[in-house]
Amino acid sequence: MNSLVNVGVSQVGFAAQPSVLRTILGSCVGICVYDRMKKTGSLAHILLPNNPGDGNPEKYADTAVPLMVQRLIKEGCKKEFMSAKLAGGAAMFKFNSNVALGQIGDRNVEEARKMLEKHGIPVVAEDIGGNAGRVIDFFLEDGRLKVKAGGEEKLYYKV
């Protein structure tokens, strides 16, 4: 069964092959972590970079990444077989540079990269920035990522 799992804003999804994890992104970032041996992975849809300590670890890049890694390890995955892909982090087409929230997409991407590096998980592909919304499908059968943005589709196979 090739079941499709929708991951909502500030949620973290987990699945194994042959499932597909899907989310829709604006300035949020989709962090996809995949274990190529176990064919199991996790998709976090983070809204903001840093957790102020509000008890919602899934909402922030800095707390979502450790949560994903821990849970994948619990499922029998190994860090050495894990790799990550990032998508999202778009910005409004026009905004005043004094408005800090305008940069939130970039800050989300930066924090996600930083946390993945800290956990020793290489980022093998990125589809980030710009002004388009993205619908992303993360296929656990081979770890590929399909990104649909501005009426076009792109595929990232590297794991």
């Binding site: 909502g8 804003v9 500030s10 989310t23 829709i24 992104l25 604006g26 300035s27 949020c28 849809h45 809204l47 903001l48 919602n56 909402k59 999202g88 778009a90 910005a91 409004m92 087409f93 026009k94 905004f95 005043n96 004094n98 408005v99 800090a100 929230l101 305008g102 939130i104 997409g105 002004n131 388009a132 919304g133 943005a149 501005g150 009426g151």
Partner: protein
């Protein structure tokens, strides 16, 4: 500019029959609530004339978002328990669902996405109004949120034929998506939305909120605050990916709106950070 398309749009907006319709009760109730002498009974009578909508309204009254705990089994009770303004918004939700809760293909929105987007913008707009001490008009912010993108339902067909051109106009001329809609088709979804609201006999403030939700700087002074509330709520929902379509974030986050409401950077981030709660409340209403 595609004159053929512009002409077709023109013929749609000048021929009221071709614009979407909603039950008349919505227009009547929405205008009633401005009457300071309005009695609960006359409002209840008006709503009860439309039996089909009444069933829907009672369901919404008892949904997690609106419910005050006690089960509501009649329109009379709804007005007494929830108040006139709250019931007015419930009427608008029930009346506009059919028009808004469908796939909007030209904008790449699946069935339900525009509807969820409108409700989420409505809930966030109300939150913003309350946070900025505008309790008296928080209900208007909510109504405006529900319907702000209604023009997309009419324009979608034409956008699907011209999408590539609109997007390349955005990039070559460095203009927002709705400005490019005007360049390519002669109209944008805000202008069409205003025409739809005129057909529905909705008040001026709501027409302004629909007409200028991407361009608060152009809004008449008297409506600037209300337009700004819906503008900011809309931008934040799009940034959160709620109802983001093919037009993506090719829009402006307007400084005029931020200043008009006196929203600080911190507040803006807080509203954005509230999106998961807003989305949860939206789903409770579906």
């Amino acid at each position: 500019m595609h004159e053929q398309i512009q002409k077709r749009i023109e013929s749609i907006i000048t021929n009221l029959d071709q614009l979407p319709s909603i039950p008349d009760v919505a227009g009547r109730v929405i205008n009633m609530v401005n009457d300071p002498e309005l009695s609960f009974k006359s409002m209840a009578d008006e709503i009860s004339k439309d039996q089909a909508i009444t069933t829907n309204i009672l369901k919404l009254c008892n949904s997690a978002f609106f419910s005050k705990g006690k089960e509501i089994t009649s329109v009379d009770r709804a007005i007494v328990t929830l108040g006139i303004k709250e019931v007015k918004d419930i009427v608008v939700i029930a009346a506009t669902r059919e028009v808004l809760n469908k796939a909007i293909l030209g904008y790449d929105l699946q069935r339900g996405e525009l509807w969820t987007h409108g409700l989420a913008v409505a809930i966030l707009a109300k939150k913003i109004a309350l946070a900025k001490n505008k309790k008296a008009v928080a209900d208007v912010a909510f109504t405006g949120g529900i319907i702000h993108d209604v023009g997309k339902t009419v324009l979608a067909l034409f956008v699907s034929n011209t999408f590539k051109e609109i997007l390349s106009t955005v990039e070559s001329k460095k203009i927002t998506f709705n400005a490019a809609e005007r360049e390519v088709m002669g109209y944008d979804h805000q202008e069409i939305g205003e025409k739809v609201l005129a057909k529905w006999k909705f008040p001026e403030v709501l027409k302004a909120m629909v007409r200028f939700h991407h361009d608060p700087a152009l809004a008449p002074k008297e409506f600037l605050e209300m337009v700004s509330i819906v503008h900011i709520a809309n931008v934040l929902c799009l940034m959160g990916g709620i109802g983001i379509g093919a037009d993506g974030l090719y829009h402006e986050l307007s400084d005029v709106a931020i200043k008009a409401l006196g929203v600080t950077n911190k507040e803006l981030e807080q509203f954005y950070s509230d999106l998961p709660v807003v989305l949860k409340q939206t789903k409770d209403m579906l």
